[in-house]
């Protein structure tokens, strides 16, 4: 049913994707056939607000049990404020500058945002060095866990290797073996405030 999408529309989508260069060469070259994306405007990121969909295809294939007249959007998108994430966190070696982590999945303030395993922000450390994790705000931490995957496992997250875990806000652990890793530190905040995962692209020399 969805494969009936017209060829010209698909062609336009592919061309837009290529022109904007948002996709990696690998992902574009092996991209399987895309089905109907209506009413999404295009498979590329844009800062423009989502266009209201007027595509009849949205109602031509209604959700199971849904009246056919309700799938069509009406009016402009309703802008909403972005959910507020937890504070940032840093990782540092002794005597080194702290490096802010890339925030992945989190829950905070009665909301949650879900992300895959992220590559993380670059940090260079020496083998066996002690790493110290700190929240940029004084958020209490109940439990924490450090783990890693090789960069090739991002964002799939297969083959997770546990590194260290503990309780409390004083978080230190040893750098992984020499090589390149995506290191994740998952923290569960105290006072039922939520949780967060922070990532670093760690080069261990």
């Amino acid at each position: 049913m969805h494969a009936e999408r017209s060829a010209p529309v698909t062609l336009v989508l592919v061309l837009v994707g290529i022109l904007l260069g948002g996709c990696t060469a690998a992902s574009m070259s092996s991209e399987p056939a895309i089905l109907s994306l209506s009413p999404s405007p295009s498979p590329v990121q844009t800062d423009a607000p989502a266009r209201p969909s007027a595509s009849p295809s949205a109602s031509a294939d209604p959700a199971p049990g849904a009246p056919s007249s309700v799938a069509l959007p009406t009016g402009s998108p309703q802008p909403e404020p972005t959910l507020v994430p937890p504070p940032d966190a840093t990782l540092a070696v002794e005597g080194g500058d702290p490096v802010v982590g890339e925030q992945g999945t989190w829950s905070w303030n009665n909301a949650a945002s879900d992300a895959p395993w992220l590559p993380g922000y670059p940090i260079h450390v020496g083998a066996n060095e002690r790493l110290t994790f700190n929240m940029s705000d004084r958020v209490p931490i109940d439990t924490w866990q450090a783990s890693r995957v090789p960069p090739t496992a991002v964002p799939g997250g297969d083959g997770v290797i546990g590194m260290a875990e503990g309780t409390g806000s004083s978080i230190t652990f040893e750098a992984p073996p020499a090589g390149s890793w995506s290191v994740a530190v998952t923290v569960r905040f105290g006072d039922n405030l939520g949780d967060a995962v922070y990532y670093w692209a760690m080069t261990v020399e």
């Binding site: 494969a3 972005t82 895959p116």
Partner: protein, 335 residues
């Protein structure tokens, strides 16, 4: 009686220890999912959602979202809220560039129980620092590296129910115990297309929303202490007379069990044991048939001598209940 005192004391201490262990278990790394919020929906509340105006998911995704709602309803294992699509509903599911998920979120949820919720999912092709987002349902043949809309929305609806991310063991060998996870997975990673709540998702839903019936199985992610009592009626019979033993099995009264505390536990196997009063070895009489009220088990016996009875509930391997043994009851026999 003096023989029974230490046994009773030990039994009480054991029950208290088991309850403490169960509480500790629920707070440790591998236990029921933590809570995102303390705001619950009503039990079995039928929560309806609609597509967000101007941000309607493509039709291929609408079906997957609705399938995720059905997954919740089929796998909640509790009286948690159910979800379904209805035009004009106040809870909204949106798709596209207006997503409020922060910089790196694939999808996000903001529950406001018991009134409404919002869920957002990013648009196909959204460029992250790890690559472009690919929803599996956008393709006629799902490519490696795609995210299954149904699985991701099931995760979000878990948040809507009030679940927070599962606390995995180090190295995440228990990833499949929960759908509500800290790292979303892509095809073909294990669990990327799971379409039912995991046992540790269900565990929290059971604690927060209660069981669907007294005979339903408790999630194996729980470790609930039980209490077993036994009574005899009458407690004194003539030689050859008959007494009826009634055992009552319940979930222990522990605060952290929330709605599960003191639940009758029905349709389980409770065994009756006996011994001549004044001796120490127990003999199994048999399995007690279910009684007239939920969580009770009864058996009638004819006696010729003073006898002690106790009931035994062996820990089942397929659910999260801890076994228990009742204190004994004595039936005296006259001439």
């Amino acid at each position: 009686m003096t023989i029974n005192r230490p046994i009773r004391w030990l039994g009480g201490a054991l029950a208290a220890l088991l309850a403490l262990l169960a509480v500790a278990s629920s707070a440790s790394a591998h236990g029921p999912d933590p809570l995102l919020t303390t705001q619950r929906w009503n039990q079995n509340q039928d929560v309806r959602y609609a597509w967000r105006s101007g941000a309607v998911p493509p039709s291929a995704y609408q079906g997957a979202v609705n399938a995720a709602a059905s997954d919740v309803n089929a796998s909640r294992g509790s009286q948690a809220a159910t979800f379904g699509y209805s035009a004009g509903a106040s809870s909204l599911i949106g798709y596209g560039v207006g997503a409020t998920c922060g910089t790196l979120g694939l999808a996000c949820a903001a529950p406001n129980a018991p009134t409404s919720f919002t869920v957002w999912m990013r648009e196909q092709g959204h460029v992250f620092d790890w690559g472009s987002l690919r929803w599996c349902q956008a393709y006629s043949s799902w490519p490696d590296g795609c995210y299954d809309v149904e699985n991701i929305i099931l995760d979000e609806l878990g948040h809507v129910e009030m679940l927070n991310h599962h606390a995995n063991l180090s190295g995440e060998p228990d990833y499949l115990d929960a759908v509500v996870q800290t790292k979303s997975r892509t095809k073909p990673s294990a669990g990327y297309s799971t379409h039912r709540f995991g046992r540790c998702d269900v565990a929290t839903l059971q604690v927060q929303y209660d069981m669907q019936s007294w005979g339903a199985k408790y999630s194996t992610c729980l470790s609930l202490a039980t209490t077993l009592a036994i009574a005899a009626s009458p407690t004194a019979v003539a030689k050859g007379g008959t007494t009826t033993l009634t055992a009552t099995l319940k979930v222990a009264d522990v605060a952290s069990y929330s709605r599960l505390a003191l639940n009758p536990v029905a349709l389980r196997t409770v065994t009756l044991q006996r011994r001549p009063s004044g001796t120490s070895s127990w003999t199994t009489v048999g399995t007690m048939p279910r009684g007239s009220t939920s969580g009770t088990y009864t058996m009638a016996l004819s006696l010729t001598a003073r006898t002690d009875f106790r009931a035994v509930f062996a820990a089942p391997s397929d659910e999260g209940l801890v076994g228990s043994t009742s204190p004994p009851v004595t039936v005296s026999v006259g001439q």
